[in-house]
């Protein structure tokens, strides 16, 4: 954050306007990323500190959702449970792993049906330890979004996140889980409920 950087005053900072979470700007654009890294490293030659240099390139926002629909129907009428939804996505997830030769799933150590079962049990009132639940949910989120990136018409990252929150049983489960965690006597459950379960941009979906 520019405002935080202005308070901390590091000797040298490069200000970029890219989406939070993408400090190098554009995935799979090595030339663009290299220019950003080089611009940051070139600041080492300057001694007029503290300085914040403005990076001159910007990445346009891709927020046009028109004309994109999830090509496989995951509406609640089509799958009757979270477990079924997770199973339905497995083939797309496998395709993503094959395409990218990598996955970012694997924080919790659980396989995805087990992670889904943990969420289902939590929804039924059997709340697991907050850290275990958070790790399982992080893995599931990565699994869903990586799977969606391998759909025949994958849209954009923004449309896939909208799909996740609009259409999936997992998102419904997370929204339903939030008040249960918020009412828990365990402060770690309440941190999860209030800060690290539902993104700030999606909290309007909570009842």
């Amino acid at each position: 954050m520019r405002e935080h950087t202005e308070i901390v005053r590091p000797p040298r900072a490069l200000w970029v306007t890219f989406e939070l979470g993408r400090p190098l700007g554009i995935p799979d654009d090595a030339a663009f990323q290299r220019r950003v890294v080089k611009a940051a490293l070139d600041l080492l030659a300057r001694t007029d500190s503290p300085l914040i240099a403005d990076y001159p390139e910007h990445v346009p926002d891709v927020t046009d959702f028109s004309g994109w629909a999830c090509p496989i129907n995951l509406a609640p009428s089509q799958v009757d449970s979270l477990v079924a939804e997770i199973d339905r996505l497995a083939t797309w997830y496998d395709r993503s792993v094959a395409n990218l030769d990598r996955t970012t799933v694997g924080v919790s150590g659980l396989d995805m049906p087990a992670a889904g079962a943990l969420v289902s049990r939590a929804l039924d009132g059997d709340l697991p330890e907050a850290q275990a639940l958070k790790e399982a949910i992080d893995d599931l989120r990565a699994y869903y979004l990586e799977a969606a990136s391998a759909f025949p018409d994958p849209g954009t990252a923004a449309t896939r996140k909208k799909w996740f929150w609009d259409e999936t049983k997992l998102a419904q489960a997370l929204l339903a889980l939030q008040p249960k965690l918020a009412a828990s006597a365990d402060p770690q459950h309440r941190i999860l409920a209030n800060l690290t379960l539902i993104p700030a941009t999606e909290r309007h979906r909570l009842g």
Binding site: E3, V16, L20, G21, A45, A200
Partner: protein, 154 residues
């Protein structure tokens, strides 16, 4: 590499506005060697680590070690925050952790060399929780003869 609060959705900006920032009396930028003679390490605050390493926990100010030879498919992210994009990292590790770019810059002699080891913290920690770890890390960087660090927040 930083962003501006006014560019963000108000709910996110309000959350980030409340974050505690340390202040320093003096933050000098000292002159040093040319870039082509420097040994560079990456320090991320994206909550990255190798699959199987300890995931980050709320308030965790410690770091995880990412050796230079680590492949992209070995890295996962366990940052507690859900308020930043992860799909860029899912698609291409370099979107958040430019290890391949640094490797290229070292190969074409734009930078002198790459550190043997790189590091990740998880950004959402109270500054005091990280200080002892940061002090220790400074010693490790010196031992690796690192004389430039690319700090990459998310």
């Amino acid at each position: 590499m930083v962003k501006r609060l006014s560019d963000m959705p108000e709910v996110e900006a309000n959350h980030l506005r409340r974050i505690e920032c340390p202040t320093y009396d003096d933050t000098p930028a000292l002159p040093g060697k040319p870039l082509a003679e420097r040994r560079v390490a990456i320090i991320s605050t994206a909550g990255l680590h190798k699959r199987g390493d300890r995931p980050f926990r709320p308030g965790d100010g410690s770091y995880r070690v990412i050796p230079a030879e680590t492949q992209g498919n070995e890295l996962v992210m366990s940052h507690i925050s859900v308020n930043f994009d992860r799909t860029g990292f899912q698609q291409d590790v370099n979107t958040a952790f430019p290890i391949d770019r640094l490797r290229e810059l070292a190969a074409d002699n734009t930078v002198g060399s790459m550190a043997a080891v790189h590091y990740s913290f998880m950004g959402a920690f109270p500054p005091a929780a990280a200080e002892p770890h940061a002090q220790h890390l400074a010693g490790l960087l010196k031992a690796d003869k690192v004389d430039a660090v690319l700090l990459v927040p998310v």
